[in-house]
C-alpha cells in the first residue's frame, strides 16, 4: 500500500505545472465562493445578533394581543403571576429585562420628529446589549432617572446635544395624553441604523409614568442561562402561564420575516454555489481524465510486469483522490485564515 501511495503522490507531481494550475484555479474559485458566502452569513448573523440584542432578546413575554397590534394598550401587567413564573424557572433564566416601548413625537424649538421611546432598566439593558459601553457623550441612565438618552442618529437629526431639552408628546395607556419635557443626559451609539435615527431611552419608571402605564410592560425579555436552550425554555414558560393572556415568543418567531428573507437569499446563493462546484468538479474530472489517458501505455506496461488490475485501480483511485484532497486541504487552510482575519478585522472595526 505504501508503494501505491508513494506512486500515486509522485504521479500527481509528474506534471507540476498542470497540477499547480489546476490547484490554483480551483483554489481561487472556491476561496472566492467561500469568502462571499462567509460575508453573507456573517452579515446576516451580525444583523440577527444586533436585532436580538437591541430589539427582541432571546425570549419575550408579551400580552397576547401585542404581537398583532403593538400598542401600549396591549401591554402586560407585571404582576405576581409573571413573577411566580420567572421564579419557577430561575434555574434556566440568566436574567430578565423589562421594557416599555411606544411612539412619541419629539420636538425642539424648530423640529418635530416621530420617535421610538424605550423605557428600560439601565442595568439589565446594559447587560443585554452593552448599551452603557455605547455611550458617546454625557452620562448613562440611573434606575430612576428622569432624564433621557438619545441615539446618535436622532441627536444629529434633531440638532440636540447633552444638556439640551426635548419635548415629548404621545398617547399613553388607554388614550391618556403623554407629554413631558426631558433633558438629554447622554448620547448613545446604536449600531442598527433604523434604531439610531429614532430611539430615545428612558428609565423604566419614568417611561411608565410618561405613558400612564404604572407597572406595565410592553415586553419582558427573558435571557436563558444557555441560549441553546431558548426553545426549551420558551416551551416551559408557555406551559406555566395562562396563554389566554400572555404570549411567549422566541427571537425566531419575532424575526420570522427577516429570517424568511435571509433563507430565501441564502438559498439563491446555495444554488449559485452548487453550479460553481459542478463546474469545478468537471474541471477536476477533465484534469484527472487527461492524466489517465496520457498514461494508458504505462498502465499496460505495469500490467505486463505483473501488477494486478486491482492494484492499478487502487493507484489510479489514490491519484484521483489526492488531487481533490490536496485542494480541499489547501482551500480549508486558506479560507480558515482568510475568514479568521476578516472576523478579527470586522470585530475590531465594530468595537
Amino acid at each position: 500500500m505504501k508503494m501505491l501511495i508513494t506512486l500515486a503522490w509522485r504521479n500527481l507531481w509528474r506534471n507540476k505545472k498542470r497540477s499547480l494550475i489546476t490547484i490554483s484555479s480551483v483554489l481561487f474559485a472556491v476561496l472566492l465562493a467561500i469568502i462571499f458566502d462567509s460575508l453573507e452569513r456573517g452579515s446576516y448573523e451580525r444583523m440577527i445578533d444586533s436585532m436580538v440584542k437591541y430589539s427582541t432578546g432571546y425570549i419575550q413575554i408579551q400580552d397576547v394581543l401585542y404581537e398583532d397590534e403593538p400598542s401600549i394598550d396591549n401591554s402586560l401587567l407585571f404582576d405576581q403571576e409573571v413573577e411566580n413564573l420567572l421564579e419557577a424557572h430561575a434555574g434556566q433564566i440568566d436574567y430578565y429585562v423589562p421594557r416599555i416601548q411606544n411612539f412619541a413625537l419629539a420636538a425642539t424649538e424648530d423640529l418635530t420628529r416621530g420617535t421610538f421611546v424605550m423605557g428600560i432598566d439601565p442595568e439589565f439593558e446594559s447587560k443585554l446589549n452593552d448599551l452603557r459601553d455605547d455611550l458617546l457623550e454625557g452620562g448613562f441612565l440611573t434606575p430612576n432617572d428622569q432624564d433621557i438618552l438619545l441615539a446618535n442618529g436622532l441627536a444629529e437629526i434633531m440638532g440636540v446635544g447633552v444638556g439640551d431639552s426635548l419635548v415629548l408628546l404621545g398617547q399613553g395607556f388607554q388614550g391618556s395624553t403623554a407629554a413631558g419635557i426631558y433633558r438629554v443626559k447622554g448620547i448613545v451609539n446604536l449600531r442598527v441604523p433604523e434604531m439610531s435615527n429614532n430611539t430615545i431611552y428612558m428609565s423604566l419608571p419614568a417611561a411608565q409614568w410618561f405613558y400612564m402605564a404604572d407597572n406595565r410592560l410592553t415586553a419582558l425579555i427573558v435571557m436563558p442561562s444557555n441560549p441553546k436552550h431558548t426553545n426549551a425554555l420558551a416551551r416551559d414558560l408557555r406551559a406555566g402561564i395562562d396563554q389566554e393572556w400572555y404570549a411567549v415568543l422566541t427571537w425566531e418567531q419575532m424575526l420570522k420575516d427577516l429570517l424568511a428573507l435571509m433563507k430565501f437569499d441564502m438559498a439563491g446563493s446555495m444554488v449559485m454555489m452548487g453550479i460553481l462546484y459542478i463546474v469545478i468538479t468537471f474541471g477536476l474530472f477533465g484534469t484527472i481524465l487527461t492524466m489517465m489517458i496520457e498514461r494508458q501505455r504505462e498502465f499496460g506496461m505495469l500490467i505486463s510486469l505483473g501488477m494486478k488490475r486491482s492494484r492499478l485501480a487502487i493507484m489510479v483511485f489514490l491519484e484521483s483522490f489526492f488531487l481533490p484532497l490536496l485542494l480541499a486541504w489547501s482551500t480549508l487552510c486558506l479560507c480558515r485564515y482568510t475568514n479568521a482575519y476578516m472576523s478579527w478585522e470586522c470585530s475590531w472595526r465594530w468595537v
Partner: protein, 227 residues
C-alpha cells in the same frame, strides 16, 4: 529440459476486414540458459511471438507451455501472477517508471512479489552493481542516458529471478557503445545467473552475440540456427 515450448502456435489478427496471420503454426522449444535472437524482417511476427510466450497476448490456435504450465489456458489474473514470478521484460523504449529512482524501479517488481524489504534492498543494490549503476541508485530515469535506462530495465527484469527474460529490440534506441555495453552485461548475466534470454531484434550486433538465431518469415520459422 525444455523451459518454453510452443506447439502449432498461431495468431490471426482479424480486427480489420482482411485477417492477418501474424504467426503460423510455430513449433519451437527453448532450453534453460539459452541466448536466443528472434530475427526477421518487419512484420514477420517477432514481437507477436514474444507477446505470446510472455503471456501478453493469447494465441488463436496452438499451445504455449512454460515450465510445464500451459499459459494460454490461464485466466487473466493468473496470467498476471505467472508473469510476475516467471518472466522478465525488457522493452525497446525502456519503460521505466519516471517517478521512481533507479533503485525503486528495480525494487518495484519485488514489491509486487511482496519480498522482504531487507532482501529487496540488497537484491536491488546487487543488480544495479551488476549493471554498473551503483552510483546512480537514487537517480530518476530522466537524469539517466538511454543506455543507463536500459541497464536499469535489465536489472528490473532480473529482480524477480525470472525463468527467462524477453527483450523486444532492446538495443534499437541505443548508440553503439551503449548497445555493446548492454550486450556485455546481458551475456555475462546469461552465463553467471544462467538466465534464459530471448531477444527480438534487427540489430546485427545482437545477432552476432546470440548462441541461437531463429529466423521468422511471414509468421513461420524459416531457419533455426544454433552456434
Amino acid at each position: 529440459m525444455t523451459i518454453i515450448k510452443t506447439e502449432k502456435l498461431t495468431k490471426v489478427y482479424d480486427d480489420n476486414s482482411l485477417p492477418v496471420r501474424a504467426l503460423n503454426k510455430v513449433d519451437l522449444e527453448f532450453e534453460p540458459g539459452e541466448f536466443t535472437a528472434i530475427v526477421g524482417p518487419s512484420g514477420s511476427g517477432k514481437t507477436t511471438f514474444l507477446n505470446m510466450i510472455g503471456g501478453l497476448d493469447k494465441p488463436t490456435e496452438g499451445k504455449i507451455i512454460i515450465d510445464g504450465t500451459e499459459i494460454s489456458k490461464l485466466s487473466d489474473s493468473k496470467l498476471i501472477d505467472f508473469r510476475l514470478h516467471n518472466i522478465g521484460f525488457v522493452f525497446q523504449a525502456y519503460n521505466l517508471l519516471p517517478v521512481l529512482t533507479a533503485k525503486e524501479n528495480v525494487s518495484f517488481i519485488m514489491l509486487l512479489q511482496k519480498t522482504d524489504p531487507k532482501k529487496m534492498e540488497a537484491r536491488a543494490m546487487e543488480l544495479l552493481k551488476q549493471v554498473g549503476l551503483e552510483d546512480k541508485v537514487d537517480v530518476r530515469p530522466s537524469k539517466l542516458s538511454g543506455g543507463q535506462q536500459q541497464r536499469v530495465a535489465v536489472a528490473r527484469a532480473l529482480a524477480s529471478k525470472p525463468k527467462f527474460i524477453l527483450a523486444d529490440e532492446p538495443t534499437a534506441n541505443l548508440d553503439t557503445e551503449s548497445a555493446f555495453n548492454l550486450l556485455d552485461i546481458m551475456a555475462r548475466l546469461n552465463k553467471e545467473e544462467n538466465v534464459t534470454l530471448i531477444f527480438s531484434t534487427h540489430d546485427q550486433r545482437v545477432i552476432e552475440r546470440a548462441r541461437r538465431v531463429v529466423t521468422l518469415v511471414d509468421g513461420a520459422v524459416a531457419k533455426d540456427e544454433r552456434r
